[in-house]
């Protein structure tokens, strides 16, 4: 099998990884970089369990070939929050009880975080659309919506109410 080396920045760290042309980014993240917060659900881009942020965009890592991520900047769930504490979105998920089995949670949190980066005052409809690529098989959607709403409220008040005018 052909080997090739790719370089990527994952959760702020530069990494060089040996891989093959047909390896999925998902497998590279889990098996080579040992970041197992990223999950495999359907393997077809429909469930969102493998969601990561690549070059600032939400992507399904099961539908990205490792060499396609050469040079990319990637954030996985392990890169959310820091030594000082959890990200506000993570805190909101815990407080709202927006977790049952937890399998969809990494993808949900990344999708929610990405949506809130672009829109601090999402409507119910916008929240639904923002996480429309992420399935929760426990069907705990209401609590997930509540968590995102809570995170949005906190982030926007922390924002000094700057976004309030256009709400």
């Amino acid at each position: 099998m052909t080997k090739l080396i790719i370089e990527l920045t994952i959760n702020g760290k530069k990494k060089k990884v040996e891989t093959t042309p047909s390896t999925r980014l998902l497998d590279l993240i889990r098996d080579d970089l040992h970041l197992t917060g990223t999950k495999e659900g359907c393997g077809k881009g429909e469930c969102g369990a493998c969601t990561v942020i690549m070059n600032g965009e939400l992507v399904a890592s099961c539908l990205v070939l490792a060499p396609q991520a050469d040079g990319a900047v990637i954030t996985t769930i392990e890169g959310v929050g820091d030594d000082k504490g959890l990200d506000p979105v993570q805190e909101a998920f815990i407080e709202s009880g927006a977790i049952q089995c937890g399998f969809c949670t990494p993808g949900m949190i990344l999708a929610a975080k990405k949506m809130l980066e672009e829109n601090l005052h999402p409507t119910e409809e916008e929240i639904k659309r923002g996480i429309s690529g992420n399935l929760c098989r426990c069907t705990g959607y209401q609590k997930i919506f509540d968590a995102i709403r809570l995170a949005a409220d906190r982030l926007s008040s922390r924002d000094g109410g700057r976004g309030e005018e256009d709400a």
């Binding site: 052909t2 790719i6 042309p21 969601t51 539908l63 990205v64």
Partner: protein
């Protein structure tokens, strides 16, 4: 990957099914065309991968060699040049959804892009991929056809411009040859008053492969009363996306108040040849085709009426 590009010379001879696989990610279109001319059917072009990789994992086919278009910046641009819009082949659905120019000139192309998959899919999937994948259910295809799109196909030897209606020949089948690269989608900028409607019926709002889609584009003559051009294009109702030409013939030269919407809806129902599949039966699709055609006409009519008043 840059390194493997250097290996290109002589690769063709040593290539076997079991041989080393190659991954090319050139920066220039010319380099991509060179690679295609050497490998032909033995290489697969990948852009977003949202269709291709699903099929690959299902082992519908083996892929040994990959030509990744991600480094070709030229293919990622949306621009207006003279009287036409040029959309690069690797422009993503998200870009189409959010582009101010697309929203302004080709609103239902933007709406159709917004209806595709999920954020994750729209961020990766590309217009060119949607076209060459040639699914009868490809969401962008009816709007592209309704806007009279042409596809620019390049090979080392020549450049071709193919109208959307001549490009698709069957489910997942097109006229593109193994040495050709789809580089651009070209849409004529509308200078007439244009009214359009996009309707997608699917099992759910996200990640639904269309059960049926309809793109209706109506252009008015200078008086803004007489219909100058009308194109009704549908997806998931035939082996390829199709235009119902009889609609065009019936509508051109007429005013809206001379049209019987019910009759036009019936015409669409009669002219399509859908199949039964997991997303809907033939009967269902025929019924719905008529109804969505009427809805689309009503939408177009009411936006015309608002602007006419």
């Amino acid at each position: 990957m840059e390194e493997s590009f250097g290996d290109l010379k002589g690769c063709q001879k040593t290539y076997q099914k079991t041989a080393l696989s190659q991954y090319f990610a050139p920066q220039k279109i010319e380099e991509a065309l060179e690679i295609l001319s050497k490998y032909g059917e033995e290489i697969k072009i990948i852009a977003g991968g949202t269709d291709l990789l699903v099929q690959y994992y299902d082992r519908l086919y083996e892929i040994n060699n990959w030509l990744d278009l991600k480094n070709i910046i030229e293919l990622k641009k949306i621009r207006i040049s003279k009287n036409q819009m040029e959309i690069g082949a690797t422009v993503t659905h998200s870009q189409l959804e959010n582009s101010e120019d697309i929203k302004k000139y080709f609103p239902i192309l933007s709406q159709a892009a917004a209806d595709i998959g999920s954020p994750q899919i729209r961020n990766r999937g590309t217009v060119g991929g949607n076209i060459v994948n040639a699914s009868p259910a490809g969401d962008l295809l009816p709007p592209l056809m309704a806007y009279d799109a042409q596809f620019k196909l390049l090979s080392v030897q020549k450049e071709e411009l193919i109208p959307a209606e001549e490009f698709f020949v069957g489910p997942k089948q097109t006229i593109i040859k193994p040495d050709q690269l789809l580089t651009q989608v070209i849409l004529p900028l509308p200078y007439e008053k244009t009214y359009d409607s996009w309707i997608k019926i699917g099992k759910r709002r996200a990640l639904a492969i269309a059960t049926i889609t309809l793109a209706l584009v109506v252009k008015m003559a200078e008086d803004n009363k007489t219909i100058k051009e009308a194109r009704a294009c549908l997806g998931s109702v035939a082996p390829t996306p199709i235009q119902i030409k009889e609609i065009r013939e019936r509508m051109i030269g007429k005013n809206f108040n001379q049209l019987d919407f019910n009759q036009l809806g019936q015409m669409v129902e009669d002219k399509i040849s859908p199949i039964d599949d997991i997303r809907g039966t033939r009967e269902y699709r025929k019924d719905v085709a008529k109804e969505i055609m009427i809805n689309a006409l009503e939408e177009v009519y009411s936006s015309w009426w608002r602007s006419y008043k």
